[in-house]
């Protein structure tokens, strides 16, 4: 390269280095490579060069042009990067700002427990049956072998509604068992069903609420024994509480609508409330083989069909599972309690995700 070219190169390099934005850079580019640019002028002047030197000069000019082009392009990339960086720096936000609120509500613990119960018994082939909250005396008591004079009626603390005509007054169902009767009248055996819903008793203190929820089960088939009753409830309790070796005890008891009747206890520690260990027993549900009178009241021949039924308090198992101390807040709708104990609606109970 000749001196004039070297000088021009040095001059351009210096100018490029001094350019701090794309506008200055573009002025240099035009000044060198533009129509009236220095390099364009030199190329134009090539024709005036003596023919014997033209080849050499041409080669030198081409080399020089490539070098200039590269230098200009490199500077452009650098300036663009700097400009982007400057913009990014300017666009910086405070990432610690709280996100825009998109409130998600929560599912009530009673509904959650119901879902879990349904999932587990559903896996055993049960459907869910419904019935009304206001029941006739016959469905709530008579059909279930609890005649008007029965001492068990005294334990039920029944709410009554005004009588219509000569019939006994309707009641708020004291248990979910009337739905057993409705199911047996509607569908011939075999039957595998559970009933979950509101039940009512005139009792109100720290451990009793005038409205509460029960889960009832009814399984009727040929050849089902008390052993199956124990199996179903043991399987359920261990799955529900997620304790595979939860101790489960069955004790003789009495309910008018089952025989034999059993109270079911689970092992726990009375002092700590921890389930599954501790050597104490906690009564958790009632159960039994469906009484032949109940079957017969629904037109089912007990010589052919037998089965079992159970009932448990939804709140009670919820409180045990989650270590909740007090029953009353369940119905209070205190938003602080709901937010504390509520469940994510987008994570419903699914057996394959674990109960």
């Amino acid at each position: 390269m000749t001196d004039d070219l070297l000088a021009l190169k040095a001059e351009t390099d210096a100018a490029l280095a001094a350019a701090t934005d794309l506008r200055a850079w573009d002025a240099i580019r035009v000044a060198v490579l533009g129509r009236n640019g220095t390099l364009t002028g030199l190329l134009r002047d090539l024709g005036k060069t003596a023919p014997d030197q033209r080849r050499e000069r041409g080669a030198a000019l081409n080399q020089f042009k490539d070098a200039l082009n590269a230098a200009i392009e490199i500077r452009k990339i650098a300036l663009e990067a700097a400009a982007l960086n400057a913009r990014l720096a300017e666009e910086k936000i405070d990432v610690t700002l709280p996100p825009r609120p998109r409130p998600l509500g929560l599912i009530h613990p009673i509904a959650r427990t119901m879902e879990e119960i349904v999932a587990i018994f559903g896996a055993m082939g049960c459907t869910v049956s419904d019935g009304p909250d206001v029941e006739s005396d016959w469905y709530n008591f008579g059909a279930l072998n609890i005649p008007a004079h029965h001492p068990a009626r005294a334990d039920h603390d029944t709410f009554y509604l005004p009588a219509i005509g000569e019939k006994p007054p309707p009641v708020l169902r004291t248990h979910t068992s009337p739905v057993q009767i409705r199911t047996m009248l509607m569908q011939p055996p075999p039957i595998r069903t559970i009933v979950i819903g509101r039940t009512y008793r005139a009792d109100h203190d720290a451990t009793h609420s005038p409205m509460f929820h029960q889960c009832e089960g009814l399984i009727i088939d040929r050849g089902l024994t008390l052993g199956h009753l124990k199996g179903v409830l043991t399987d359920f309790l261990r799955t529900f509480f997620d304790i595979s070796n939860l101790p489960v005890r069955f004790r003789s008891s009495y309910f008018p609508f089952t025989e034999p009747s059993m109270e079911v206890d689970i092992g726990w520690n009375r002092k700590t409330g921890e389930l599954g260990k501790g050597g104490d027993w906690l009564e958790i549900l009632g159960s039994g083989m469906v009484h032949p009178r109940v079957l017969a009241n629904c037109g089912i021949d007990p010589r052919e069909w037998q089965g079992f039924a159970w009932g448990m308090g939804v709140e009670r198992v919820t409180m045990l599972k989650h270590g909740m101390a007090d029953l009353r807040p369940f119905y209070e709708s205190d938003i602080r309690w709901l937010r504390h104990y509520g469940f994510n609606p987008l994570a419903p109970t699914m057996l394959h995700e674990g109960v």
Partner: protein, 820 residues
């Protein structure tokens, strides 16, 4: 029922420890409810003789006592002012726990003198507050004996729950019998001797109400001296919480508990005439032993002398003829009353007595004569006197019956492998007598006290059952019930824990759907509403009638006859009512911005079964405060959005929805709507609550609400979807601003625009609503974006212009709109 261990042991010969007895009670269905054992804490304390008490050499207030414990002598330093030579006291030796503070006593040295124990005050033993000195025991108390035993405080009180079927265990003897059958000791014989009468006069029975009383006995005892009972009898009654009254009354209470055999005693001197008549009540009023007056109905059984009603049979006796300390002649009544009639009388008059409790569960009919002899013997023992002849009316009913059990059913019903021999032995131990046995089955005679086994079967079959089916079922019950009764006994004695648990056989390779479509709707609505930011509540189905009234029809037929509280007497017309009150409670706690919902019943006398399943919600206050957007008060459109989200989740076709502005009166009339599907179906409602309702109930305002009737939503259809129309051409968007009367519904404009060119228009969006000074009064501007979706080729400018004109014309035609 309560009884003491020593009382139990008057019927049961056993050495079994208390724990074994109580565990067995629970196992065989007599659930232990509690054991009170004062004696346990006192067990280490013995009665001692203070041989010498001398002044402590180094302390003015202390004495050094040399104490004879019965098997040696120990030295005790004692500070009690009453510690003195020759007294008898109670000693705690080193290692004992002091009940008052739980500390463990150690051998110590007090001011240089060794002390090997402590003489106890009442307070230190946890027996009261007396700490003025050590307990002084009478001189005749045996040295070395357990203080608790000597003082009668070592007798544990056992309380069990007796289930309604086990009337026989409402007695100490019945419990003893069941325990003996379960292998805890042997039942002592009970065979009171017949007492020969020495006269034959006094009241006799006339039974004019045999439906209530099948058999009744009575006996006069003359020349009795009634006074307080002896200590043993008083102790027995006090131990189970009964108040001793006088010997004659105490005897009846004793047998009520001991044999489960209620008795009644009349003071013969206060009776008028020579007969006691059982008859229907006739409106008479009687002053009862509890001091209350009862007016008898024709369904009650009255026991009357010539002067009138003296007792309500089986429930409570009358005060005027009761026995007191002046009684010299007593008439003992021992009757067999009908359980159902006694239960109904007891309930009618709301009397809960020990007698009623036992009568209504059924008594042992074979115990009548033994009971009256035992009672006579005890009365003569305590009060002296001469027995008269037993008078009776009616006769022992035929209670004898058999029951048969097929051995195979122990396994096929009971799930148990108990062998036939063991099963039969269990029944025999319980008092069943084998009448016939072969390889397949056993037939036993049911003991007189077990009226829960093979009893009379009363069915209450549904009236609409097919006659043949009903008869077969009833016949099946006759066979199966007595057999199940016996299997229950066999399983009960072995313990139900001995039955092996068997998992339920699968009903199919994969279970069918668990929920019905309606139940699935409820679940989906619940999840969807929670995902909209509403928190799920569970509120009571009942509320105060006055608070329910603004929310709908509060008919009397949905008002409780016996509410637990005045503010929980009316079944709610809609969950919105209870949710609104919940919002009010939260606002009072300082949480006024709320979004609550519930899926539950709305009670409506006109609905099938009187209720509808609804998903309802309320929002109150404002949107959450935040840096990114301004706070906005909730409005009707928030409730609409919630409702629309739920309907979308339930796949309600929104296109077919119609809104009418006739929501119930608790809504703001101009800011609410009824959501209809077709001419008849009301799916739900939404809107702002009426300011008057907010004011009257003191609700936090503004408040908006919605409800979706899940019973009105139709089941989801599993229809196959048609293939989607995914055009290859870009859509065109054009904006239009229309000027319409303010009364024109936005929906009308949107529908008209959309209908202008159905094949071309893929969507219409309302993006601006303006009312104000830039438009004429009475007008509003609605700006919409219309999306044209070409399908076969790009549209030409002329085609686009034509389509736009169609939109303008269609909107103008149906709403009177003009392009702005």
């Amino acid at each position: 029922m309560k009884f003491s261990l020593s009382w139990l042991k008057t019927h049961l010969e056993t050495e079994a420890p208390l724990d074994t007895i109580t565990d067995t009670l629970t196992r065989i269905g007599l659930e232990l409810e509690g054991v009170e054992n004062k004696g346990a804490a006192l067990a280490p304390f013995r009665i001692v003789h203070v041989r010498e008490a001398v002044q402590h050499p180094n302390a003015d207030r202390l004495r050094v006592c040399t104490v004879d414990t019965g098997d040696g002598t120990v030295t005790v330093v004692c500070g009690a002012p009453n510690a003195r030579t020759g007294m008898k006291a109670v000693l705690a030796t080193a290692g004992s726990t002091i009940p008052a503070d739980g500390s463990v006593l150690k051998v110590g040295e007090i001011r240089g003198v060794k002390s090997e124990g402590m003489l106890m005050s009442a307070r230190e033993m946890g027996l009261g507050d007396d700490h003025s000195g050590i307990v002084e025991v009478p001189a005749d108390a045996p040295v070395g004996a357990s203080y608790a035993a000597w003082a009668g405080m070592d007798d544990p009180i056992i309380e069990i729950g007796v289930t309604p079927n086990r009337g026989d265990c409402f007695s100490v003897r019945g419990v003893a019998r069941d325990l003996a059958a379960a292998g805890i000791g042997t039942l002592k014989p009970f065979a009171p001797a017949k007492i020969a009468p020495v006269f034959d006069s006094g009241p006799h029975w006339v039974n004019n109400f045999p439906e209530t009383c099948s058999w009744i006995l009575g006996r006069t005892i003359r020349g009795v001296k009634n006074s307080p009972s002896p200590k043993w009898l008083q102790d027995r009654l006090i131990s189970i919480g009964l108040r001793p009254i006088n010997a004659l009354v105490d005897v009846t209470n004793f047998f009520t508990m001991d044999l489960g055999r209620p008795l009644h005693v009349f003071d013969v001197g206060k009776l008028t005439g020579e007969t006691l008549t059982l008859r229907r009540g006739a409106g008479e009023t009687m002053l009862a032993l509890n001091g209350k007056e009862y007016t008898l109905t024709a369904e009650d059984c009255a026991i009357c002398d010539a002067a009138g009603v003296q007792s309500i049979a089986g429930v409570i006796g009358g005060q005027p003829t009761g026995c007191d300390e002046q009684t010299t002649a007593v008439f003992v009544e021992c009757a067999l009353f009908d359980p159902v009639r006694i239960a109904l009388t007891g309930r009618r008059h709301q009397v809960v007595s020990d007698a009623r409790q036992r009568f209504e569960r059924g008594l042992d009919p074979a115990l009548m004569t033994d009971a009256i002899e035992a009672a006579t013997a005890l009365i003569i023992e305590l009060c002296g006197g001469a027995p008269g002849a037993v008078t009776e009316a009616g006769a022992e009913p035929a209670w004898q019956r058999d029951a048969t059990m097929r051995f195979a059913r122990i396994a096929s019903f009971g799930g148990s492998d108990i062998p036939a021999d063991e099963a039969v032995t269990s029944l025999e131990r319980l008092g069943f007598n084998v009448r016939h046995r072969d390889a397949e089955a056993v037939t036993v005679a049911v003991p007189s006290w077990r009226n829960d086994v093979a009893g009379k079967i009363a069915l209450d079959q549904h009236p609409d059952l097919d006659g043949e089916k009903a008869a077969a079922a009833a016949e099946g019950c006759e066979t199966i019930e007595p057999e199940n009764d016996l299997i229950e006994e066999v399983l009960r004695l072995r313990g139900l824990d001995a039955v092996t648990a068997v998992s339920l056989p699968q009903s199919g390779p994969v279970p069918a759907a668990t929920l019905t479509p309606r139940q699935t709707r409820a679940a989906l609505a619940r999840r969807t509403l929670a995902a909209q930011g509403l928190n799920e509540c569970v509120t009571f189905s009942f509320m105060a009638a006055a608070e329910a009234a603004p929310f709908g029809d509060t008919t009397d037929s949905l008002r409780l006859s016996n509410p637990i509280a005045a503010d929980l007497d009316q079944l709610r017309p809609t969950p919105i009512a209870t949710l609104a009150m919940a919002a009010k409670r939260n606002a009072a706690r300082g949480y006024a911005d709320l979004a609550l919902f519930e899926v539950g019943p709305a009670f409506d006398a006109t609905a099938p079964h009187g209720q509808r399943l609804v998903a309802a919600g309320v929002r109150a206050g404002s949107s959450p405060r935040g840096w990114a957007s301004a706070v906005q008060a909730v409005d009707a459109m928030d409730a609409k959005a919630d409702l629309w989200a739920a309907m979308a989740a339930l796949e309600v076709p929104i296109e077919g929805i119609m809104l009418t502005q006739d929501a119930p009166s608790f809504y703001h009339p101009g800011r609410s709507a009824t959501v209809r599907q077709g001419p008849k179906t009301i799916l739900g409602r939404f809107g702002e609550l009426h300011p008057r309702v907010i004011g009257d109930l003191g609700l936090p305002g503004p408040m908006v609400a919605f409800e979706l009737d899940l019973d009105a939503v139709s089941d989801r259809k599993r229809r196959r979807k048609s293939a989607p129309d995914l055009s290859a051409f870009q859509p065109l968007r054009r904006d239009f601003a229309f000027l319409v009367d303010t009364t024109v519904a936005a929906d009308a404009v949107l529908r008209a625009a959309k209908g202008a060119e159905r094949t071309l228009i893929a969507g219409v969006t309302l993006f601006d609503v303006y009312e104000g000074d830039k438009v004429p009064v009475g007008k509003k501007s609605l700006a919409i974006e219309v999306i044209f979706q070409p399908r076969e080729r790009t549209l030409t400018d002329a085609e686009i212009e034509a389509a736009c004109q169609k939109v303008i014309a269609a909107v103008a035609k149906s709403t009177g709109a003009a392009l702005r």
